[in-house]
């Protein structure tokens, strides 16, 4: 069939193009991590694992890894708790509910830059609305740019604000697919609201939550923009996790090899966690 041959050619071209776009950079990153360059354009020198040993010997690397785990852990936990709570609130049906759902999704629509600027304005040291609120409670201002713990808390809270709607939407879809009979049966058995939540809702959401947890973990571990825009990893590296560390190495200290090595290690760690995760919670297992 001649038309089939055309399809094959088109497929081949599209796949080749994709391979160049998606796979080549990944392999190239690996290659970069084995090389040393004085700048982006200078001749590469093959140093093999020297970048890796150098990175692993840096205390900053391990500190950044630890902070990344804290940042990802806190944001994921809060997003999932809030996301489930919001989904439960939004699961009822009444006129106007679609609008309320739309409003709840709003934070997720905004570009990260817009969120970062808006929160920086709200936290402005003299007339930001949150500073005014802090004054009302007897504080001069919120030292989120100076205090290491507050800085971390600030980026965590803002990240939770932006990305909770993702959990809300997926859980809402999950809630809507739970058959009403299950609740009826639990009610007949005398289960109160809490028991119904623990014994009907949560088990039914399990498969949805497993996927959400995995995706959130990947994204929060790789998060760069919100931290860079709020604190640039400061104060005194208090919010610097692996992506920020890797960016600083590659584009501020102009050592692309080291930056690529950090990115590759972080990708390896993530892959290992994902493999372990699939080992303990196989996605296909449900039913």
């Amino acid at each position: 069939m001649p038309s089939n041959r055309i399809i094959y050619v088109i497929l081949f071209l599209a796949l080749a193009f994709t391979a160049v776009l998606v796979l080549y950079p990944a392999f190239y990153a690996l290659e970069l991590s084995f090389q040393h360059r004085e700048s982006l354009v200078s001749e590469p020198e093959w140093v093999w694992f020297a970048n890796y040993t150098k990175v692993l010997a840096m205390p900053e690397f391990w500190q950044a890894l630890g902070r990344g785990v804290i940042f990802a852990g806190l944001t994921i936990f809060l997003q999932i708790v809030l996301g489930i709570a919001f989904a439960l609130l939004l699961a009822r049906e009444f006129p106007g509910m679609p609008v309320i759902r739309g409003l709840a999704v709003l934070p997720y629509l905004l570009p990260t830059v817009v969120v970062a600027l808006t929160f920086r304005w709200m936290l402005d040291g003299s007339v930001g609305i949150l500073t005014v609120a802090a004054k009302f409670f007897g504080y001069d201002y919120i030292p989120w740019g100076e205090d290491p713990v507050l800085a971390m808390l600030t980026v965590v809270i803002i990240s939770v604000w932006i990305w909770t709607p993702f959990v809300t939407l997926t859980c809402l879809a999950g809630l809507q697919s739970i058959p009403e009979e299950l609740y009826e049966a639990a009610r007949i058995d005398g289960a109160g609201p809490w028991q119904r939540f623990w014994h009907v809702t949560l088990p039914q959401l399990r498969s949805v939550l497993l996927v959400v947890l995995l995706l959130r973990a990947i994204w929060m571990f790789n998060k760069f923009d919100i931290i860079w825009l709020m604190t640039q990893g400061g104060p005194q590296h208090a919010t610097e996790q692996l992506p920020v560390f890797s960016y600083r190495l590659a584009f501020e200290m102009y050592d692309v090899g080291l930056g690529a090595a950090v990115s590759s290690i972080s990708f390896l760690i993530l892959s290992a966690i994902i493999l372990l995760y699939f080992h303990f919670f196989p996605l296909e297992q449900k039913d």
């Binding site: 497929l11 994709t18 990153a29 709840a104 570009p111 830059v113 817009v114 600027l117 879809a173 994204w219």
Partner: protein, 274 residues
């Protein structure tokens, strides 16, 4: 707990959730319409006097209009390239029998898990070497790299659901495969294509990381990076910055109002990587 009390608690919680979700957005819009003279001296919950001064300063005295055009060009380019490629790949993968099919799909999802910086660093180096660093084209390519895996993944799900009988019937009636594809398959997958388009647009329009790494000259900046550089240049003039933020968010709000069905599907599929 009696019914009226639990109902009151429900409405209170719902109200808290809405305020929590909406307040920063409201505050951004509110600030953008305030008189720049009073922004630093008082708190106003409704702009009084209501003024467009921040917007006119922003559009007349800064590079904002250039950045806006750049963002429009890059986002449109990304949408077009992503749709063409993901339709071609997803369709071929569902309709043709060849070895390594599942590998193609698996790789696509795996690519989605790459840390953005792991792609940004080599892409930046690559663009320097092939001579297109610091161009809008380099950004279109980068954003397509990000959007394509999920585009293929989403459309693959759509094409799978369309039974091959439908096109085969058309082909028996004398259509060529191409004609059957355009007349029969494409209309059926239109919702999926719209979803991918929205998702690619969102990703490109909101991207900060790749624009930061790829673009260095002022005239080639896109909105997110451009707006962020204004923070340093204009000594934190929040009125203009909030006006700029509102204008970036505006197209998204408009799209969301009219296309929320597709939007929610795209968002739930993980659009706006992150």
């Amino acid at each position: 707990m009696s019914k009226p009390i639990s109902r009151t608690i429900y409405w209170l919680l719902l109200l808290c959730m809405v305020v929590y979700s909406v307040f920063p957005v409201y505050w951004m819009i509110n600030t953008s319409f305030r008189d720049p003279q009073t922004i630093y001296s008082s708190i106003d919950f409704v702009p009084s006097p209501f003024t467009l001064e921040n917007f006119s300063t922003l559009l007349e005295l800064t590079d904002y209009p250039t950045w806006f055009m750049n963002s429009v060009i890059v986002a449109s380019g990304t949408v077009v390239v992503t749709i063409i490629l993901s339709v071609l790949i997803a369709y071929s993968v569902t309709r043709l029998q060849f070895r390594g099919k599942s590998l193609v799909i698996g790789t696509m999802l795996y690519a989605y898990m790459f840390p953005p910086l792991l792609l940004a660093i080599p892409l930046a180096t690559l663009f320097v070497q092939i001579g297109i660093p610091d161009t809008l084209l380099s950004l279109i390519i980068s954003h397509t790299t990000l959007a394509l895996p999920l585009g293929v993944w989403l459309l693959w799900g759509f094409f799978k659901q369309i039974p091959t009988d439908v096109e085969e019937a058309a082909m028996v009636d004398g259509c060529s495969r191409l004609k059957a594809f355009i007349l029969v398959v494409l209309p059926l997958t239109l919702p999926g294509i719209v979803t991918v388009a929205i998702f690619a647009f969102l990703l490109s329009w909101t991207d900060y990381v790749f624009a930061l790494v790829m673009i260095s000259s002022d005239i080639n900046k896109t909105l997110p990076v451009g707006l962020d550089t204004m923070v340093g240049l204009y000594e934190l003039r929040w009125g203009e910055l909030m006006a700029g933020s509102t204008l970036i968010a505006l197209p998204l709000f408009v799209m969301f109002t009219f296309l929320s069905r597709f939007f929610i599907r795209g968002l739930a599929a993980g659009a706006v990587k992150g």
